[in-house]
Structures are given as C-alpha cells and as structure tokens.
C-alpha cells in the first residue's frame, strides 16, 4: 500500500524530505512502516527511532495500523505560542 509521508521543521532539515509518497508493507503499523523506510533509505536513519507521529492529522501511537492512502506525519517536539 502507499502512504503520504510528511516531515516538518528539524526532521525536514535532517532528511531533506518534506513530503514523500511511499510504498509500505500492506497492513504495516506506523512503526513498521518507519523501520522499513529506515532500512531502505539512509536519510531516515537521521531521525529519532520513535518520533511523535500523526496519522491523518491526529496524534497516533507507533503501533497504530496504517491504511492505504493514509497521511503519516513525523513531528519534532512542538513549540507553538
């Protein structure tokens, strides 16, 4: 299945990636999808192993399952205000 990966702020700087349409194993959790990406693409090795994530614009746990077409965002510690 394919998901839309979004990176922000520091994570964008670390990887040089802001947005990426990626293939991940069918039925993968977010954590599995990230491990898979890390194994295939060295740029993602620069990110923390367990980043805060959002799936479809809501905070989610790494063990949350992904579905085809989901938007997975990797979020550095936030600093609003």
């Amino acid at each position: 299945m394919r998901i839309q990966l979004l990176l922000f702020a520091l994570y964008r700087d670390l990887t040089g990636v802001s947005e990426l349409d990626v293939q991940v194993p069918d039925g993968a959790t977010a954590g599995v999808a990230l491990a898979d990406l890390r194994a295939r693409d060295a740029r993602f090795g620069r990110l923390p192993e367990r980043p805060v994530i959002a799936i479809n614009r809501e905070y989610a746990l790494l063990d949350a399952p992904l579905a085809d077409g989901d938007e997975l965002a990797l979020l550095p510690p936030v600093a609003g205000g």
Partner: protein, 157 residues
C-alpha cells in the same frame, strides 16, 4: 468559538471584539509576541512553521476543551505562521465569560495546551546570522487504540 491559523498579521482588536456578550462580566485577551532575545542571544526574527491542516483542528479542539471547562463558547484563538519580526504577535487568545475566574482559566489553558500540542515549530534567527529550531514539547501520547474502543454494552445510542 473561532480558531484559525494565518500567515497574515493578526488584528488583535478584531480577535478581542469577536468575544463578549451581554451575559459576560469579564473579557480577556492574551498575546504572545516575539522577543528581542532568547536566553541572552539577540534575536533577529522568527519563522513559525506549522502542519497547517492538523494545527487548525488541534487549535479547534483546544478551544473546545477550554470552553467546556470555563462554560463559555466566547473563545477566539489565532496562531500566526511565517516570518515574524520582534514585537509581532504570534498568537492571540480572547475569551469572555460571566465571571473573571473562568476567563483567566480558559485563556491560560489555551496557551498552555498550544505550547504542548499545537504542531507548530519556531525557527529563531539571531543577529549573528545563525538560526536554530527552538526546543519544543513532546505532546502527550494519545490513548492506545484498544482503550479507545468502548467496552461492549457501554456504547451510547
């Protein structure tokens, strides 16, 4: 209740006048502004990046929670994105309520939750030409998926 993310300068009078009602005896406006220094380093300006789509809904959630706590729906919150200069308003929160305690509590709740949960990041530029992402907060983990599923028989119609 009005919440939004904008890359335009914030009109604070507009935010304030969007709250208030004849039932309310208290109104409060909080403004966050860009400071000229941070931990002793002279600041040139600040860029606010946001995960805009998500930030809009988190901001709306936060305002909803604040309104529920305070018993008022007169709450407006706007957060700025983009390049800001010293003194520019980055966030404006207006609340009105029948009594003062609720307005103070709601405004305080909103700004604390913004700092904790709003997917926004600050890139601070210093007068020496360097720049840095500011340290942020780790948002509270959401409830585990299984916990979010109601136990059988507890589903409300």
């Amino acid at each position: 209740m009005r919440t939004w993310i904008t890359d335009e300068p914030i009109d604070v009078s507009d935010v304030l006048s969007s709250v208030g009602s004849d039932a309310d005896g208290a109104a409060l406006l909080f403004l966050g502004t860009v400071r000229e220094q941070n931990e002793g380093r002279p600041v040139q300006g600040m860029r606010y990046d946001a995960y805009a789509g998500m930030a809009a809904s988190v901001l709306s959630e936060i305002a909803g929670e604040a309104g529920e706590r305070a018993g008022t729906d007169r709450i407006s919150v706007v957060h700025r994105t983009g390049e800001l200069q010293i003194g520019d308003v980055s966030v404006a929160i207006a609340v009105s309520s029948p009594h003062r305690a609720e307005a103070f509590d709601a405004a305080r709740y909103v700004i604390e939750q913004i700092k904790l949960r709003l997917p926004v990041w600050k890139h601070e530029h210093y007068t020496d030409g360097s720049a840095e992402w500011l340290d942020g907060a780790t948002p509270p983990a959401p409830a585990a998926e299984s916990a979010a599923v109601p136990a059988p028989g507890t589903v409300k119609p």
